[in-house]
Symmetry: C2
Subunit: 196 residues, 2 copies
Amino acid sequence: MARAGITADRLVAAAAELADEVGFEQVSLSALARRFGVKDASLHSHVRGLWDLRHRLALLAGGEMIDRIGVAVAGRSGRDALAAYADAYRAYALAHPGRYAATQIRVDPALVDADAPAMRRTVEITYGMLRGYGLAEPDLTDAVRLLRATFHGYCALEASGGFNAPRDVRASWDRAIDALHIALENWPREETDHHV
Amino acid sequence: MARAGITADRLVAAAAELADEVGFEQVSLSALARRFGVKDASLHSHVRGLWDLRHRLALLAGGEMIDRIGVAVAGRSGRDALAAYADAYRAYALAHPGRYAATQIRVDPALVDADAPAMRRTVEITYGMLRGYGLAEPDLTDAVRLLRATFHGYCALEASGGFNAPRDVRASWDRAIDALHIALENWPREETDHHV
DNA sequence: GACCGAAACCTAGAGCCCCTAGGATTCTGG
DNA sequence: CCAGAATCCTAGGGGCTCTAGGTTTCGGTC
């Protein structure tokens, strides 16, 4: 009987395609095995289980995503860099919804260290993008968290059909970037002490 | 044999508790049936299936959440209203992670109309909270989207352990609210036409 | 108080999923 | 060419959702 020639990498690649087609949650070892013309039990020799597969998929997608963002941001600074970062982020999330969802899973820190480069590049590129605004810690961390939250929230809501109003989402997105740029330029100084 | 006295409402209430304990994705009809000392097939007479249960849970949680936000926002305006809204939002998401996750599922618009009050109150309260900033459409919609995205993104990332830096999340959150307030007060006017 | 219809709950069973254990086949390197 | 390792298989346990159809219990009515 001819062999299917399955590799962990080919498995993850197929999982990525499947995730973009039917959604991250719907990716199953059974469906994957079916796609390879193989019994589902056979996959357990390449991958430790569904969790392992999802974890690998998260690393793949995270790497792909930060690569594109890195390219988009390269050579830009200030508002241009922010807009390029944001647009690349959203473009990836919309083009690869399943992969993007994979990047959001909670990931074991111990395993991350093993394949850390993508993670490290992500923080490097993100903090680098903010360089022009002249922020120092802890404001830098606060700003990064604000940006991550806004970008992720926007893409998550858009992907799940949360924006019903008849207003073009792309236009709203551009205004959100403008608003964030303004917030970064006028970053709140410590003196203002509201919120009990 | 004594009866368990199951109602659709009691079922949803139990599902809410279970969701907060083990996570929204882990809520199963089987587990629920076990909790009521009943066979899982019996639940299908009260609820149309897992999807129906999740849908009802989403409506319950959405109602609870907007109630608390409404109370927090009442009698406040401007920055105070924004901070109260944001804090009530995050407090609910952190106190009831499973319920909060339920509010994020894609929900059939046809069914929403049937139980629309919570949904309508949500937009009323949200738009009302922004009244002080003097925005008009489409900027209002853009601002609402920005706020929703940031709030949701923040809570989602925090809940999934996405904030690793040794910086107090609550402090970052306060700065994010400050930043949003600044962005709303200096809302970008149409003339600025960046982003290709 | 007995009855009757409507709930509430049950068993049985199909279908899908994940995963383990151990057997058979195919590749591959010495 | 021939081990040994890698690949794929069958067998089977356990969990989940959901349908179909049977019993039992409850509440109201005569």
